[in-house]
């Protein structure tokens, strides 16, 4: 039951993009077409899930066990950077189609704050191993959801008459604001 709550909370109620502001850069940069939004979403979900597992192990068996919590940020960022590199090499060797689909989005994930944010939030909330992985999957799916919805709206926006000064990033941010407003409606789901 606890696990289901964590999942729904990460996908809808506390959506990483729309209520924690994590992963805004790809959210604005890669949300102009649905196809690229889906690819980016999958790549991020994949890395989020893996890094949720690994950072949990590091936190529990290295940082806490050796009593060196001040190395938290340095060690997380090294793990994430090498993980992304590793995933990229692995996918290139095993599945050419997937590699072509993800393309340039893979290396970009290193500087996606959602990954580091997940590691930090997970450590802060003291989740168990399984809970942390579910949290990672939920956050990834929530990210994908927000990205795809945004891309859908922006494709329609090509036909709309947007004021000259608001074109581009400005109107994207305003739409994101309205989306965040809509997602606030899910807030009642958990407390009920």
């Amino acid at each position: 039951m606890e696990v289901i709550l964590i999942f729904i909370s990460a996908v809808l109620v506390n959506n990483f993009v729309l209520s924690y502001f994590l992963g805004i850069c790809p959210f604005i940069g890669v949300s102009d077409r649905i196809e690229s939004a889906v690819s980016m979403g999958f790549a991020v979900t994949f890395v989020l899930t893996l890094s949720a597992a690994i950072t949990w192990l590091i936190n529990r068996y290295i940082l806490i066990a050796l009593n060196v919590p001040f190395l938290e940020y340095v060690s997380y960022i090294i793990v994430i950077a090498s993980l992304v590199q590793f995933v990229e090499m692995f996918i290139r060797k095993t599945s050419k189609t997937l590699y072509d689909a993800l393309g340039i989005y893979l290396p970009l994930i290193t500087t996606n704050c959602a990954i580091l944010g997940l590691a930090l939030f997970g450590a802060l909330r003291d989740y168990s191993f399984i809970e942390n992985i579910v949290f990672g999957i939920g956050a990834g799916i929530g990210f994908t959801l927000a990205l795809v919805v945004m891309a859908g709206i922006r494709e329609e926006l090509d036909l709309a008459d947007v004021p000259e000064s608001l074109k581009g990033a400005a109107i994207t941010l305003i739409i994101a604001g309205l989306l965040a407003l809509a997602f606030m409606g899910f807030a009642g789901l958990i407390s009920a």
Partner: protein, 214 residues
Amino acid sequence: MADTKSGDINTGNKSFSEFIKGFWKENPVLVMLLGMCPTLAVTTSAINGLTMGLAVVFVMTGSSVIVSLVRNIVPKQVRIATFVVIIATFVTMVDLFLKAFLLDLSKALGPFIPLIVVNCIILGRAEAFASRNSVWLSLVDALGVSFGFTVTLVFLGGIREILGMRTFFGMSVLGEGFEPWVIMLLPPGAFITLGFMLGAKNLIDRKMKERKKY
């Protein structure tokens, strides 16, 4: 003799233009759309924006100087990893400092202080500028960009604080008669305010360009 003098003036001018460009022409938030996560997340009040901005000023000047110092020693293949470790070290310093001396602010900013590590402004300037330029120019560039970032954050935080809580840096600005817009303090308020700030900057730029034509 004359040559050295004009050279000095040129470097002076260059440093100044590197410093000033971060505020408007290459403003990291409004033009380059970098570092959006902290910009949106912590600006519920002007003081939070200021703290975040100053933390970034410290991390960015420190890491730019170090990156510039080691730029000829670090092999090309591992430079990004090296930069990230340098940045993470400075972020850890800021985080421990805030926890020790300003606990309330540290709690208000929460995980967004450690998230400075992945702030693309800092890595971006390290890679694009500090790894190619002298220590002095890197320092000036880092100061300009990070203060431009700070000013933008205080501005955004100020708007949200005034409309959402009727105060600015904790001082009452709007009278009791004004009903606070609570939405400004919530995530949607952040997105929408920043969206209109971008729009306003575009509008001013266009008006200035039109005026130049005549």
